[in-house]
Structures are given as C-alpha cells and as structure tokens.
C-alpha cells in the first residue's frame, strides 16, 4: 500500500533526509521500498509531535546542536550523574558519549533547516536525562530518572539495560519499580507515563525476558530490523517484545545505517546497535499522542498491537504465527513494524480501553525434577477469576512467575501454551549462561503473544534443556498471572479500514459476545425449566 515519496509532497531540505530510509524507504542503500515507519502519512495528516515531550534517558544530549537546540526542553531536563540541570555529554573513561545525542536526533531533529536529518516527530520537544555516566548505576539514579517531571514529560526512551552478555539476569530494583508503577498510574495526569525500551543487543545468545525492564508490562519493548527487513544480528528475541522499528544492521553499505545528529554539531550515518529502535518508536508514539493526547499508557500498547505491520520483515528463525484471536505475531519482531500513519488515524477516534484487572490464575508449588531428554509438562486450568470482581476475559499481558534452578541455567528452555493454542517461547537457550547456583527466583517471564485471547481453560508450561550435555534441575514454583479487561476493548472503537486488524478483532469480539449472551440465556432457560 506504499506509494512513491513524491505522492506525499514531502520535500525537506535537510541533507540527510534522503538517507533516512527508516522514515521513507524508497529502496535506497539496497533497502526494500516501503519498509519504513510510514511517517509521511502521519505528517501529511498534520501530526509532527507538537506539544509532546520525549525524554532520552542516556548519557546526555548535545543541546547546543543546531538541529536539536530549537526542540530542546531545558525545563524538563536534568543531569542525575552530576546532579545539575545541564545534561550535556561529558568525557567519560570510555569516551563513548554520543549515544544520547544520536537518540535525540531520531526523535526531534528540526525539519527543513538544512542541517543533518529530520526527527520522526520533528516538532516535538526533547528532554535530556543524563544518568548513565557514573562508574556504576544505582537504584536511586534510575528511579530519579524514570520519575523525573512526569506531568511534563510524556514519553521516556531508554536504549540501555542489564549487560547483554547472555548470562545476566537483572532488572529494576525497589525504588525504580515503585517509580515505574507511579509513572503508569500517576504520570501525565493519570493517563500514565509511556516507557519505551530497546530490547537488547545480546543477539542469539541472549533472551530479553531476562531483562526486567524490557519484559515489564509497564514498558513497551521494541526490537529492530535493518533496511531490508532482516534482523540486525545483535537483536535479542523474547516473548515480551511488542513491536519493532529500525536500526543499522549488517550491511556493508554505509548508508544503510541510521542517519541522525551527532556530538558537537555533527551528523552521523551510523547510529549503532538496537538503541535507535527505542527513540524511533518514541517518535511514533509522540505523533499518536498529538493526534489524541488522552491516550493512556495501555491505549498506546493496544494501538501498537493493532497497527503494527508484518510488512516485509523477515525472520529466518521464527515463523510468523496467528494467536487465538487472529493477531499475527513473531517471536523476534512482536506484532510487526510500527506504522505511524495507521497509528495516528486510529488514535484520533480511539476510545480509552476498559479498566484492567489482574487474576492469579493458579499456582504449582510442588517441586518437580527436570531431566535432560525429557520435558517437564505442567498445566493450570483456570476460569480466569470468572464470577469475581477481578475476572479477566480479554488478555493483555500474561506472566509466568517461575522459580527454577539448573546445573546449567543457560540450557533451560520454557514454553507456555494458552488455552486457545498459542505457544510462546518464554525462555530460549542462552549458551553463555553457565550459572548453576542462582537460577531464576520468582522471575516474571512475560508474553504479549496471547493479546486479546480468552484465558479460560488449560495453560501448559513446558520446561526442558536445550543443550547437548546432560543437565538436571528443579522447578519449585510456577504461578500464572493474567492481566487484561473484563469487557471487550475494541467493540466500541470506530472502524474506518475494513481490512485492518481492528476490524477483524472487533468482529471477533462481537461474535464472542453474542455467543456468550446466547449461552447465558440458554442457561437461564434451562435453570428455569
């Protein structure tokens, strides 16, 4: 459905604009035409991020850069590494301090000023939160960053996390978890702060469900693809990834990189790693927020699921599959690549989704031995708390809270299958993780793959070992947590595109609601007779 760039009449004089294939991909640098964020359609509708502030939580922003200065929100910026209001990048022992500036350019680089390129949301405001530049991270600095001015900052973008070495299992600590919870409940006047996370650079060796930030329900975890739709080799996959944007990849073509601003007034064609993915997504969310400032943090996740496109994404390893309500997903790319045009179109008419409920669907507390060569299969049958005030009928996130240890933690593989038959890889093999003492202790593995499904029925958890050498271990606990709504989230929504996922989902919900109404009236008649 993509048309030529000239159809859009987007003629910006920024020298790098034609190299920003992630904005408008016409096939430049051996790319695939049309594989982009479709921002031109959103810009055409007049949405460019006006009135939205995005914070880049990183190593500071060169806020004197001529392509950033005009869009810099000094009032919302702070330097927590040095405790002053000037988050300008400073030399650190590894001299790598351009990260935040490159992220900032992807979101809010000024358009039509004949400098560098153009931000996804080029009329938004960008705030700098410098918080990575101290010898070690601390809970107090992370919490301060994530809870900085939540009534001014709408979106927080993070392109960092626990070390992606394929053996670290880590996540937010006490103060930061509290700050995130406060953010989604009280930020933006109660509509909720929007946290966007780059899912990780560990490649095939790591699994972003071992990163407590990316696998949190409160953050939107974003993966990345390169300009021909393949994954960037360093991309981690996991079931908590919701969608994808773009980063530079494995191509030799220097222009296949991500063009953006760089330190000290420079421009660059090479924003490295998956870090570009988060700010690009933050920019798209800013366009949606301009289209509808009332969107809640959950609305943003629903819009992401409904408007992300498979497009021409290509994953050699994992098949694209449909879940129980027909939503197509992929283990690496989530529900697909963000589509800014579709997102702002849907955001304009969007009615906030119904209240969210939480149900502890069941728990297995006995210890079970796990042996190589044989899968441990456990099941929990649940009515999803039906009949109680916290009944969950339409799923959003599912968590399997697991306590397990093994002679080699990296060989553990966990799969979860929903009552509607959707199989989700909760943990894939991590060949570099040789831990045999810590294991996973009440670790909340999260999946987005059953979005919209009816959770009632039998859930199956399979635990096994994926390596060659024989291993053993013990699963001590599995608790299944369901999060979602009681009433159909899409049944009230306005459908304008009858080919869209929303149209399909709404039809599905109507049919199910009708079936259940008929069932209930039959039951009433039977009970009367």
């Amino acid at each position: 459905g993509y048309r030529d760039i000239n159809d859009f009449g987007v003629d910006l004089n920024d020298p790098l604009f034609s190299k920003q294939w992630y904005l408008i991909n016409t096939g430049q640098a051996d790319g695939t035409p049309g594989l982009d964020l479709n921002v031109a359609e959103a810009w055409k509708m007049g949405y460019t991020g006006k009135g939205v502030t995005i914070a880049i939580m990183d190593d500071g922003i060169d806020y004197l850069h001529p392509d950033i200065a005009f869009n810099y929100n000094a009032e919302a910026s702070y330097d927590f590494s040095s405790n002053d209001p000037y988050p300008y990048p400073r030399y650190t022992d590894d001299w790598f301090n351009s990260h935040g500036t490159r992220c900032a350019g992807e979101v809010s680089a000024v358009a039509n000023n004949n400098i560098c390129g153009v931000g996804v949301a080029y009329n938004s405001k960008v705030a700098g939160i410098r918080m990575l530049d101290q010898p070690f991270m601390t809970d107090i600095i992370e919490a301060s960053s994530i809870s900085h001015m939540p009534q001014v900052i709408d979106i927080y973008s993070a392109s960092w996390g626990p070390t992606d070495d394929g053996k670290t299992v880590d996540g937010p600590r006490e103060l930061t978890l509290q700050a995130m919870a406060d953010g989604v409940n009280k930020g933006r006047g109660g509509k909720g702060s929007i946290y966007v996370w780059a899912s990780g650079d560990g490649g095939g060796y790591d699994d972003c469900n071992c990163d407590g930030y990316a696998s949190s329900m409160w953050t939107i975890s974003i993966n990345s693809a390169i300009n021909d739709g393949r994954t960037a080799l360093y991309d981690e996959s996991c079931s908590s990834t919701l969608a994808s944007t773009f980063s530079n990849g494995r191509k030799r073509n220097p222009e296949a990189g991500v063009a953006t601003t760089d330190l000290y007034g420079n421009c660059t064609l090479r924003h490295s790693g998956t870090s570009a993915a988060a700010p690009e997504a933050a920019g798209v969310f800013a366009l949606a927020l301009e289209a509808n400032p009332n969107l809640t943090w959950r609305d943003m996740q629903h819009l992401t699921v409904l408007t992300s496109k498979r497009n021409k994404l290509h994953d050699e390893l994992h098949q694209w599959r449909r879940n129980g309500v027909g939503l197509e997903f992929n283990h690496l790319f989530g529900y697909g690549v963000l589509d800014a045009g579709a997102m702002v179109s849907l955001a304009r008419d969007w009615k906030t989704v119904p209240e969210r409920f939480h149900c502890v669907a069941g728990s297995v507390q006995e210890t079970h031995k796990i042996q190589s060569g044989a899968k441990l299969a456990l099941s929990i049958t649940t009515n999803a708390c039906q009949g109680r005030e916290n009944f969950v009928r339409y799923l959003e996130h599912v968590q399997a809270v697991v306590t397990v240890n093994a002679s080699r933690r990296g060989d553990l593989v966990l799969n979860l299958t929903s009552p509607m038959g959707t199989k989700s890889i909760l943990l894939s093999r991590r060949p570099r993780d040789s831990d045999s003492t810590v294991g996973f202790d009440k670790w909340p593995f999260m999946s987005t793959h059953t979005w919209g499904e009816d959770p009632r029925g039998t859930w199956k958890l399979e635990v096994g070992f994926g390596g060659e050498s024989p291993q053993s271990g013990y699963l001590k606990e599995w608790t299944l947590m369901l999060h979602g709504t009681q009433s159909a989230p899409y049944i009230e929504q306005v459908v304008r595109d009858y080919q869209s996922k929303l149209a399909m989902s709404k039809k599905e919900e109507l049919e199910e609601e009708l079936d259940e109404a008929v069932e209930r009236s039959l039951e009433r008649m039977m009970s009367k007779s």
Binding site: T138, D139, S159, G161, P162, D201, G273
Partner: protein, 85 residues
C-alpha cells in the same frame, strides 16, 4: 554476586527540606544533596567529585551521618552494571 557499594547514599531526614539536606551533606563531606520526588523527605547524597574516595573514610562518614539526630535512615547505594545498546 556480592554488591558493589558506591558512595551515593539514600538519606531520609526526620524533618526539613533541601537546604537542611544540603547543609548536612556539606557538613559530612558530601558533594551535594537532591530531594527525591517520591517518598517522604528522601534525599540523594552525592559523593564529592574526588577521583577515589578511600573506602574506610567513606564508611566512617556514613556511620557518623547515620548517628546524626536529624537523620532517620541512611541506605548505601549498591552499584550495578547498565550497558548502552
């Protein structure tokens, strides 16, 4: 596995605001203090920018601070790795 302790402290006062915290921080040889937007009278005490404060001295400093009448609680901040992506 064991935590790395930084010289950053989470300090809770019985009463008072930023000026009192700033005053206390300087008295005990810290670089600065910043009130946290969450919690009750919680402050982040930053170490002075000296390159390598000696471990023993910073431990003593923290212990003295902990005994100060104005202070309700002092929590040393564990350091952990975070990597750019």
């Amino acid at each position: 596995e064991e935590g790395i302790y930084t010289n950053h402290l989470l300090v809770q006062l019985h009463e008072g605001g930023n000026e009192d915290a700033q005053q206390l921080a300087l008295e005990y040889g810290f670089g600065s203090a910043r009130q946290l937007p969450f919690g009750e009278r919680l402050f982040h005490f930053y170490p002075r920018d000296t390159p390598k404060t000696r471990r023993k001295r910073s431990l003593l400093r923290r212990q003295h601070l902990d005994k100060d009448q104005r202070v309700k609680k002092v929590i040393a901040q564990e350091g952990f790795e975070r990597q750019k992506r």
